[in-house]
Symmetry: C3
Subunit: 145 residues, 3 copies
Amino acid sequence: MPHLVILYSGNLDCDVDMTAVCRALADAMLTIRDEEDEQVFPTGGARVLAYPAPSFAIGDGGAAAVAAGESGEYGFAYLNLRMGRGRSAVVQRRAGEIIAEAARTLFAPLLQKRRIGLTFQIDVGPEVYDAKFGNLHPLFQKGKN
Amino acid sequence: MPHLVILYSGNLDCDVDMTAVCRALADAMLTIRDEEDEQVFPTGGARVLAYPAPSFAIGDGGAAAVAAGESGEYGFAYLNLRMGRGRSAVVQRRAGEIIAEAARTLFAPLLQKRRIGLTFQIDVGPEVYDAKFGNLHPLFQKGKN
Amino acid sequence: MPHLVILYSGNLDCDVDMTAVCRALADAMLTIRDEEDEQVFPTGGARVLAYPAPSFAIGDGGAAAVAAGESGEYGFAYLNLRMGRGRSAVVQRRAGEIIAEAARTLFAPLLQKRRIGLTFQIDVGPEVYDAKFGNLHPLFQKGKN
């Protein structure tokens, strides 16, 4: 954790370099610091994944835009960050603001060109069981020593 | 919001036009009205995305169907709608019934042909931060005036 | 239900047979038994789907590994099981342990070769509406008689 999953309409791929978006959002996540100025998300735990949907439907399908003389090719991206429990409300809001600001900057050129729905939410999940068994974290703990 | 995400086994693509399913479900979402006969979901907020899974496993992998003289090629679709907080239980149930009915109709031909697992759930999410920064909604607010 | 969804960085496909992973995890799910030695998850309800992400970013992007003389090509898999409500904490923990153990075994060869983040969580969902309308379950109920 944290995991940021981007679900988006596949028709954005022509206008967005989603790998660059993933990287920029991961970088933003790693800048977030808590009230004690400690990094909130462990470096090895920051993961961003983006999935273009091959099939989708958005709003009225384009009718309102066409009626307004625009392209009816709407796009959509949903950014959903799941973070672990136990962070303060201050840290949650700070994380939200920093990532939202990064996303706004990244998608600004797209919003100049097209009609796009963009939603970003942070969830603190309803997990009843949690296990981590990778080998990424030790790389960074080692680096600290 | 609302977002309806369809996760399904890729072996359904040969039998279902998933883009048409997305459109029909988005249309169904837009028909839902509350106790005051107001449209529940804003037109610009209705989004449906469908993702075929290239790898999957279902049930016993087909053994029971083969033993019964049927095809062991099971399929599966999971429809998950996430809607915003603050709607009444009546509206939540009404949304569920309308979308489930639309899904039943859409998948009926498939259920005539194949063994398919179909689950539909509406979640009201555990978000601790929520931001919307697209440019779709103004198109419809403008349309209202 | 239950549904186990695997979101993973697409760069694992070269080293993992994800269809085999799905099958092995479904098999593990079907072995779970409750306090009365009854099968916890109905055979027709066990579903595993795996989605490679074409775009992703992980940790520091590889810098720490490269600095340590390793490959900077991190991978990542997130296993998320959603199960129905109403199971005891004992059953939830047992499900977690059995599936985590299966996942550990399945990913062990990969962890020998590469730096991978692996997270597994079980959620009991926040659904406000739930409908099932497939035709898989009757196949197994029939089989019981």
